[in-house]
């Protein structure tokens, strides 16, 4: 966060055809309650749509939720699209992603992966850290 009056903006997006949106919505709400400005795309977003939303909304971070198993195809497409548009912002993801894919995804440019059972506090703390938002206790 750059100033006290302008909260960091976070895009929460659901790439692919997957309709499981419970996690994305809960995270969106938790980040909003923590003071972030959250833009939620809804489901069925193509990588191009997500990149476009990130550019248009001028977001500071992106959270991607995917449970369909298409993460190895869709997440790199999003990261590459962001790079092509000159956006160098942290991208984190959650959903059903096997541990053995974490390394590959991080190499492709995903900053962090929050698997099942992650506490909301960890996601909020992470988002504060990567967007330079001080926590209320600081």
């Amino acid at each position: 966060m750059t100033t006290a009056t302008a909260p960091a903006r976070v895009l929460i997006a659901k790439p692919g055809l997957d309709g499981h949106d419970r996690g994305a919505k809960v995270v969106a709400r938790a980040l909003r309650d923590a003071g972030f400005e959250v833009i939620y795309t809804g489901i069925r977003q193509t990588p191009e749509m997500i990149v476009q939303a990130a550019v248009q909304e001028d977001v500071d971070a992106i959270g991607l939720s995917i449970l369909s198993g298409a993460h190895l195809d869709l997440l790199p497409a999003i990261v590459n699209g962001l790079r092509e548009n000159g956006l160098d912002i942290p991208v984190f993801s959650g959903g059903i992603i096997p541990k053995e894919d974490y390394e590959a995804l991080k190499e492709m440019g995903i900053t962090a992966i929050f698997g099942p059972g992650t506490s909301l506090k960890d996601i909020v703390d992470f988002t504060r850290e990567v967007t330079g938002t001080p926590s209320p206790e600081d």
């Binding site: 055809l17 419970r22 919505k25 909003r32 369909s68 198993g69 869709l74 541990k99 099942p116 059972g117």
Partner: protein
């Protein structure tokens, strides 16, 4: 001191329970179910009105069916053991089905991949990364024929989790049966065909509500005469509960959707008792054992009353709420995955004690991936242990008469009815969904649940309590990319080798039918028999009906 044998509940609360709690506080200030119904420390005959027992609870196979829909329940025939499966390709899925049947499974349950569910062919740009991931891709009739290669459609019953594209997938199944000379009147199974919950929770809609409802009632009408043993819909609370609803909301939103389907079918000119017997339901089995048992009993009673009181049904078959159950995917944890076996067993027991007609037990590895063959086998064995070793199958509705279960059944019915009244006032389920009402209620409940887990007000073993550090990685199922290639190659071959003019003509005919008010099923069957693909058929319908736009409710 008063002797326990001549004490009332009130006296016991005041003279025994009260002082005990004053000395030692209970574990919680308030005990409640997932539906926020407060649980008393004790239930006794004063919680169940004796005079109402006969009319409320009654007998199995008799209105209002609280105790179950069959006279003998599991003494006569066990529930259908139906593990939801499908992945990679038609060939791999056929192998898994053959394996499950060899292991003693008694019905099939098809999982389709997302392109098939949302109306895209395996080579469509939107299918990138999704082919064969959450289910089997079925892009044309040849895929369906391979899935059922060596499986007798006259003998097996097949449930298909398919909604927006239900007519097309049923058409493939009918086409395969015709090829094999199996009379369609003998086909047994279910298409989920429940679009309303897709708008609320599951997300595989294609068209807006009105044309979607028309496709559904077309299927009802067609199946009433052509496939009378087929369940034309499985009205589902499962996904709404998985998305975060409470048990009371699960009953209420499911039955509100059911009311909307019955209304739509009646408006389309059908008679309630012509299509009513083919309606079926689908609920989750969560971990709160007794609340879940009460939920199934309350749902059965509520549906029976609604069919009689609201729709004037006279056929008991239409009034019976027959349901499939699946254990709760959301309760599976990636941490200490062996615990999931215990959770699923407990949940499956709830379904059986609640009188389910068929059951899927989730596998321990599903917080990470689709289940491996070993994990699925264990799920099937769980069902078999419950069926053959637990003894709970030996009498009908064994928990009836439990003061607590009966009181909870009453309470859940009451809460669900109150929600349905609210939805009625909004103009019914379709309007309520367009206004985002169930979505908002579910979002609120799921967020509340998560904050309770965060604050440890709610314990999740191995996740927020009793944790044990690093876990040894499990062997999980991975989809071989070669299978996708095989799928796409076959799709290209089917497009090349079919009579292109004929396929085109059937698609054009479908377009004309879609624009008219004629039943769409025969035209869709013509398309699939001419080799048209899932994507092509949906492109035609998207052109006529348009596409649904999500109402964002966060």
């Amino acid at each position: 001191m008063t002797n326990g044998s001549n004490m009332s509940k009130q006296e016991w609360l005041e003279s025994v329970y009260g002082p005990a709690v004053a000395r030692n506080k209970e574990r919680q200030d308030r005990f409640e179910t997932t539906s926020e119904i407060e649980i008393d420390p004790l239930y006794d005959p004063s919680d169940v009105t004796e005079s109402e027992f006969a009319s409320k609870v009654g007998y199995p196979a008799r209105y209002p069916f609280t105790r179950g829909v069959q006279p003998t329940m599991y003494r006569g025939r066990l529930w259908t053991m139906r593990q939801y499966a499908g992945f990679a390709s038609a060939e791999e899925t056929n192998r898994r089905y053959q394996y499950l049947l060899e292991q003693g499974q008694t019905g099939l349950s098809m999982a389709f991949d997302l392109p098939t569910q949302t109306g895209y062919d395996s080579d469509a740009p939107l299918a990138l990364g999704e082919v064969g991931k959450v289910g089997v891709p079925v892009a044309h009739v040849e895929d369906m024929a391979i899935v059922f290669d060596g499986i007798d459609l006259a003998k097996v019953s097949t449930s298909m989790t398919i909604n927006a594209t239900a007519s097309i997938l049923l058409a493939y199944y009918i086409a395969v049966a015709r090829r094999e000379g199996v009379p369609t009147k003998e086909l047994r199974g279910t298409v989920q065909n429940d679009i309303l919950k897709e708008y609320i929770a599951r997300g595989t809609y294609i068209y807006p509500p009105a044309p979607s409802m028309r496709l559904i009632t077309d299927l009802f009408e067609y199946c009433a005469t052509e496939t009378p043993a087929w369940n034309t819909i499985s009205i589902s609370g499962y996904h709404m509960r998985e998305a975060g609803s409470t048990a009371a909301q699960e009953i209420a939103f499911t039955i509100a959707d059911a009311i909307a389907y019955v209304d739509a079918a009646i408006a389309a000119g059908l008679k309630v008792d012509d299509f009513g017997p083919q309606l079926s339901f689908f609920f989750v089995a969560q971990s709160n054992l007794l609340e879940e048992v009460a939920k199934y009993r309350a749902a059965r009673r509520l549906w029976a009353k609604i069919m009689v009181e609201r729709f004037g049904s006279e056929n008991p078959r239409s009034q019976m709420l027959r349901f499939h159950t699946q254990t709760a995917g959301v309760t599976l944890t990636a941490q200490q995955p062996d615990n999931n076996v215990v959770r699923s067993t407990l949940q499956a027991l709830a379904a059986v004690l609640g009188g389910t007609q068929s059951l899927h037990v989730n596998s321990k590895d599903e917080a990470l991936a689709l289940p491996s063959e070993d994990a699925v086998t264990l799920s099937l064995r769980t069902q078999q242990v419950l069926a053959y070793e637990s003894g709970v199958t030996d009498t009908v509705d064994p928990l009836a008469g439990s003061y607590f279960v009966e009181a909870m059944t009453d309470k859940l019915e009451e809460e669900a009815r109150a929600y349905i009244e609210r939805i009625d006032k909004m103009g019914g389920a379709v309007r309520a969904i367009e206004n985002g009402f169930p979505q908002q209620e579910i979002g609120d409940a799921s967020y509340k649940y998560q904050t309770q887990v965060e604050s440890r007000e709610r314990t999740v073993v191995g996740v927020n309590s009793f944790t044990s550090g690093d876990e040894t990685p499990m062997e999980i199922l991975r989809i071989n990319p070669e299978e996708t290639k095989r799928q796409v190659d076959r799709l290209e071959r089917v497009r090349r080798e079919r009579d292109g003019h004929k396929a085109q003509a059937t698609l054009e005919h479908l377009e004309a039918v879609a624009k008219s008010s004629d039943n769409s099923m025969p035209a869709i069957i013509d398309c699939v028999e001419a080799g048209a693909t899932t994507g092509e058929i949906c492109d035609v319908l998207r052109g006529v009906f348009g596409m649904h736009k999500e109402l964002l409710v966060v």
